[in-house]
């Protein structure tokens, strides 16, 4: 590397794997592709074709209880989706639910990740305890919150209130009806409990991948902990915060278990997946349900575009290094 004309090192390390062979070797190309094809074909058939079918059905007049009256409906189903008060409110519910869960669990997850990044006695145990909520089966977690925590007469929350008030000699503790008084918050709280560990794990991975020499240099140069966080840690974590937020959104937009279990979609908590489920299997309105499904896909594609961008920038860093 004594020549001035040597290419900049960046170019050399760009590809860790050899480029595939060029030229006429068609057979060898297919030999390379062969191991990929079963997975690819399987996935296209099972995940892509149904979406095409949904798109087609969304333009049809189709209620399975009225099978003779089936035909082309134009954009009627879409008009229904955007004018029907129930469907419209479920769009709003989905956005509020997703945004609330993602933001709260990101903030809590960031706090916990920063705590876990310090050294203290029993850190491994604390980490394990914090992951546990994520490893409770979602339906089981929702049942746990609904019956064992929120129940107004024997749930843990009201039990603890009784106990605390009892310590001060009061016989009249507040005993809120958690689910009927604050239905959406009840669903949000249970989901935040499950998703905070996920955010924490992603952000902790981010914290532990930051270049420590820069942090140490900053400490030596007399930077305060806040300055280190503001100018070093936070910019490095941004990518991970975005990733956590976007992946969390993708998972939580689709949430069905908690809404189904805790409130059964009542009291204004029906989100789009729940409403679509209802439209299919109780109202049998196949056309309308498909149109609502297409709307969900378009919404998810917007989030997914950003998510893929973040994943691909992390991915390029990884391949390059």
């Amino acid at each position: 590397m004594t020549l001035d004309t040597a290419p900049p090192p960046v170019k050399q390390v760009r590809r860790e794997r050899p480029t595939p062979p060029r030229g006429p070797g068609g057979a060898s190309r297919w030999a390379r592709r062969a191991p990929l094809l079963p997975a690819l074909i399987f996935l296209i058939v099972v995940t892509q074709l149904p979406f095409v079918a949904t798109l087609v059905i969304s333009f049809m007049r189709w209620n399975s209880l009225d099978p003779t009256n089936r035909g082309f409906a134009g954009v009627d189903n879409y008009l229904t989706v955007f004018t029907d008060a129930g469907l419209r409110s479920s769009v709003v519910t989905t956005v509020v639910l997703t945004a609330a869960v993602v933001l709260i669990s990101l903030v809590l997850g960031l706090g916990l990740a920063l705590l876990l990044d310090t050294k203290f006695r029993g850190r491994g145990v604390v980490r394990t305890m914090l992951i546990a909520p994520f490893l409770v089966v979602p339906v089981a977690a929702a049942l746990l919150w609904k019956h064992a925590l929120y129940n107004p007469s024997y749930g843990l929350f009201n039990g603890v209130l009784t106990w605390i008030w009892g310590l001060f000699g009061s016989q009249n503790p507040p005993q809120p009806e958690w689910i009927s008084e604050m239905p959406l918050s009840a669903v949000v709280a249970s989901l935040v409990w499950q998703w905070t560990p996920f955010m924490m794990l992603i952000l902790l991975a981010g914290l532990q991948s930051r270049p420590m020499d820069a942090v140490e240099a900053a400490h030596i140069d007399g930077a305060s902990p806040w300055q280190v966080f503001r100018y070093l840690t936070f910019p490095h974590l941004r990518q991970y915060l975005e990733l956590g937020g976007l992946l969390g959104s993708i998972y939580i937009v689709q949430n069905f278990d908690a809404v189904f279990t805790i409130t059964s979609g009542g009291l204004g908590t029906a989100n789009l997946p729940y409403t679509i489920y209802q439209t299919f299997f109780q109202a049998h309105e196949y056309g309308q349900a498909s149109a609502a499904g297409v709307v969900v896909v378009i919404g998810s594609m917007i989030i997914a575009t950003f998510a893929l961008r973040v994943v691909s920038s992390l991915f390029r860093d990884e391949v390059r290094s």
């Binding site: 794997r17 050899p18 595939p20 062969a34 191991p35 079963p38 399987f42 099972v46 149904p50 079918a53 706090g111 916990l112 705590l115 310090t118 050294k119 203290f120 850190r123 145990v125 604390v126 305890m129 914090l130 992951i131 546990a132 909520p133 490893l135 409770v136 089966v137 979602p138 339906v139 089981a140 977690a141 049942l143 746990l144 919150w145 019956h147 129940n151 024997y154 009201n158 039990g159 009784t162 794990l201 992603i202 902790l204 991975a205 991948s209 991970y240 990733l243 956590g244 069905f256 278990d257 189904f260 679509i276 489920y277 498909s290 499904g293 297409v294 969900v296 594609m301 997914a304 893929l308």
Partner: protein, 273 residues
Amino acid sequence: MKRAWKPWGAIAWIAAVVFFAPVAWMLLTSLHSEPDAATNPPSLLAPITLDGYAEFFGGTGGISPWPPLINSFSASIGSTLIVLLLAIPAAYALSIKPVEKWTDVLFFFLSTKMLPVVAGILPIYLVAQYAGMLDNISFLTLLYTSMNLPIAVWLMRSFLAEVPKEILEAAAIDGAGLITILRRVVAPVAMPGIAATALICFIFSWNELLFARVLTGVVAGTAPVFLTGFVTSQGLFLAKVCAAATIVSFPVLVAGFAAQDKLVQGLSLGAVK
């Protein structure tokens, strides 16, 4: 790290206790008798009993939880095996001997995971109905395979990419065949990754509710579908619910802690190490 970090340790412990409390409460309640489970204020020191579990496993009539648990095991294990069978060759073609434009292919896999399940479920239901596959555990197994395949391909690719290229080349020069290279060079490096991928796929299949709820009924219902039977209260049943939630979550807790280190990699679709 010479500063006094001690308050942070205490705060972390308090946070851990708060987050773990519902899980601990679930375990404790499942070990209490029904009257002790439903007191206000809570009776923490009530005598321990396994009545809740006995009740859950069909003490006094009711539906047995065994068929749903067995269904869940067969769908989760079956789909995980098919996923590995499809994902390992695919990952090989994306890392060790990459096809042209392999990153595009990889991102195609990922993008299928980002489309919501609910938007494809009606056609899938209609196909199942038409083919007579409703309430059939094999059909559910295939759907779980498609659900987990993109994640598995991503994970497996990142694990296979860790196989040192020099060793692969050296083995090829020494005249080792494909099978020998796979067994002697690739497998030892990739094994822990394969295990973690399998555990993560198992967890996702085990947890799934929407497909199972829509496509199965009395015969092929899975454990989460069985749990939805507890959505409405039925008198004093708190210990039984907590026992049910504990039993159904147990395999996930075991698999999750076993795969703890790779968990975040799996959940972030391989983007975070």
